[in-house]
């Protein structure tokens, strides 16, 4: 059983990866798939959406005689990433409070467990 990752979260995950470094399409898909199981056909629409909203830009670099398109986060993208991080944090906290009936602030250890379960 899998929980469907919403478009917002997909956007956030892509931006979070791009925040660390520029990626080309295939590598970005690979790294995304270490966190969640998404299909390859999902990646292009996400990237196009982010580009349309100016959260990322692209540039081309030659590679072994052919072209490689790289994706790069923009300042607006970083702002949007922060928004999604906050949204996710709030979301996680409220769900955790129901799932685990925790009245206390959860520690980092519990957070990792919760994250692992949700991505099961």
């Amino acid at each position: 059983m899998e929980i469907k990752v919403t478009a917002d979260l997909l956007d956030g995950l892509v931006l979070a990866l791009l925040d660390k470094q520029d990626y080309y399409g295939y590598a970005l898909t690979q790294d995304m798939q270490t966190a969640i199981s998404i299909s390859e056909s999902t990646m292009y629409p996400v990237l196009r959406r982010l580009q349309k909203n100016n959260y990322l830009t692209t540039y081309d670099q030659p590679y072994h005689g052919r072209n490689r398109r790289y994706y790069q986060i923009t300042p607006e993208g970083r702002t949007h990433l922060e928004r999604i991080r906050k949204m996710w944090g709030d979301f996680k906290t409220s769900l955790d409070s129901v799932f685990y009936k925790a009245d206390i602030v959860v520690s980092h250890g519990d957070l990792n467990d919760a994250k692992g379960n949700e991505h099961g």
Partner: protein, 209 residues
Amino acid sequence: MDKENYLTELEEYLDALTADEKADVIEFYNEYIDDAGLETTDEIEKRLGTPRQLSRKVLADYSIKVTDIESHRSKKSKASVRSNGKMIWMILLALLASPAAIVLGIVLFAILACVVAVFGACMVAALAVLCTFFILMIASLYVGIVMLFSSFTTGLFYLGCGLMGLGAVLIGFPLLYWIFRAIIQGIANFAKFLYKKIYKNRRQGGNEK
């Protein structure tokens, strides 16, 4: 090459997109296939799905109803590559244009037929009148000549009538013939014009079908 076939087919399913958008999609998956080292169609489809499935996901992002494209897609051959949107629009136009043009054409031709019938009747009537004049003329001339011997003035009178009749006939028949020809020519031109108009619509509509 399997990759080329796959991408060509994918491009067809993406017909509804603009040329730029289409190029971006193809570029992305072209690179992807290369970077992932996918070589056979099987390998590609295992990862990306069939071109149709992949196009759905892409088009969903463009908010295009895939059902509209697919219902039309089944009629087209694989080889042709044309804009679906344009195609659907033109088919619509053709559907709108053809029946209307045919109905309009029938109506116009009916009117034309009536016009021809009316003018035909007029021609016949005019012809009848002229024939009457002709007969009267003959009769008058005959009577006139006969009367010349018995009553000169009466004979002259009838001769006069006959000659008048002759004049009328001599003017009338050619005039009538000229009018007849002119009207026939006019009707023929109008008919040609109608035919061209309707045929033009049908030809355009026919091409799309």
